[in-house]
Every structure is written in C-alpha cells, then in structure tokens.
Subunit: 111 residues, 2 copies
DNA sequence: ATTTTTCATCGTAATATTGCAATAAACAAT
DNA sequence: ATTGTTTATTGCAATATTACGATGAAAAAT
C-alpha cells in the first residue's frame, strides 16, 4: 500500500519515527552538519554546498522543518535556518535511554 | 526520480542516514521497544504484538537487520532477534555529538 | 520602475516504501 | 511420512519519496 498505519501505534512511537525519518537521508544529514559548521546561521548558501538543485534542497529543508528538526526565520531577502535544540534534545533522550536499556540487558542477549 | 544520490555524500553521512531511515517507521520503533521489553530474546511473537500481518513484520525485521540495528539467530524452529549494541552505540555517539555542538553554538542562533 | 537575488511551490517522472495474501522453506511433533 | 509451526519470499497494488525544471513571490539593488 505505501501508507503507514500510524493510528495503530502510540503517539511516542510515531513522533520518534517522524524525527528519525527526517534524519534518514544523506542530504538532510549534510544540511544539519552544514548548519552546525556555519555558526553564523546565515544559511542561504546551502544549495552551493550540496550536489542538488535548489528546488530539491528547499524540499529537504521543508521536511526537516515539518519534523521540527530545524527552524526558519525570514531575514529580509534571505532565510536563516537553525537547528531546533528542543527536538535534538528529545532525540538524544530517546537514544540515550535506548542505549542504556540495551546495555542493562546485555547478559540476556542470545546473538 | 525517487533515487537518492548517495554517491555525492560522504560515507559517514550515508551510514547515519541509513540507520535513521531504518528507525523512521513506528512499527520498527515498536519492534525495538518490544525487543527491549522481552528480556528473554525469544522473539517469535512480535507478530502478535503488532497490528500488522506476518509478512509485513518480517519485512520490517529485514530492514532493521540490513541496517544492522538488530541481529538474528536461528534457534531451532524459531528465530531470536536482538538489538545490535555496536550500532546503537554508534548512533548514540552521533546524536550526543550533535547535541553538544548545538548547545555549544547556542549563542550564535538566530531563530 | 526594472532587474536581480533568494527561496518556495507546482507539475512531473522515476523509484522506493508499505502492506498483505499466497506460497515456500525449514524444522518439530505426531 | 504427514502435519503443524514458524519465518522468509514473491508478487502485487496503493502511496510516498526523491529530484528537477519551470514558475511565482517578495524583498534588495540598480
């Protein structure tokens, strides 16, 4: 079908999956790394850094924005994108808990 | 097109994106949580826990395995799946570094 | 006022994902 | 040997994603 049965999963499961899905493309990872590198946050030149057309980059940015991984501000003519600390922190919480649980159960592993 | 231009991104970017993509579906998050909950690792009953057909669950398990998020062992008739500590740790490393970098640059944010 | 710059959106094509029924494969139990 | 149990695979339909050219919109620069 190609449609995800979101209704049958918990809100938390859907939220985490949405964040992870947004991070599930190398161009979007590259965008995030670029936003970190460019401390100035004047981010109009992401297109020049990526091997993708402007329309494609804009689409990736929109997906990151929809998932609340980044925020965008209009700055006169250009737009300034920033990482959303709040979401990144929540992702970190999930991954750290996951890692802790895995290590706590390490003696119960069978493979 | 629907095809990702992986060749134009770094190995690291592709690897991280692959992990995140594998985690980018609520059913796969649910599977992971179930694997953690069931400490025994006798995991033949994932199908009963999820609102999905057996074929679909098997497909999700294969994707998690391809991304090396889980490992699977044949145990007589049934199969035992476990989380791959190594990969989970690497994901944690990436997220923790990301979070650190975001916080370090908090004063340079514009939005 | 016109042109340029910057970013978003629309339309479209190619490919990928999601989901399931049906079937196969591999072993266990009878 | 046959039957049941468990998981994988195949084939298919519906939907989503990825990518880009063309176009639009809004402010900046000339």
């Amino acid at each position: 079908m190609g449609i995800t049965k979101s209704d049958f999963f918990t809100e938390g499961q859907n939220k985490i999956a949405q964040w992870m899905k947004a991070l599930g493309h190398p161009a979007r990872i590259a965008i995030i790394q670029f936003l970190l590198e460019k401390k100035s946050c004047i981010c109009g030149d992401i297109v020049d850094e990526l091997p993708l057309a402007q329309a494609t980059v804009s689409q990736h940015l929109r997906e990151l924005k929809n998932a609340e991984i980044i925020k965008g501000n209009i700055e006169g003519n250009s737009i300034c994108y920033c990482l959303n600390i709040n979401t990144i922190s929540q992702i970190q919480l999930f991954i750290n808990q996951l890692n802790k649980d895995v290590f706590d159960n390490v003696e119960n592993k069978c493979c």
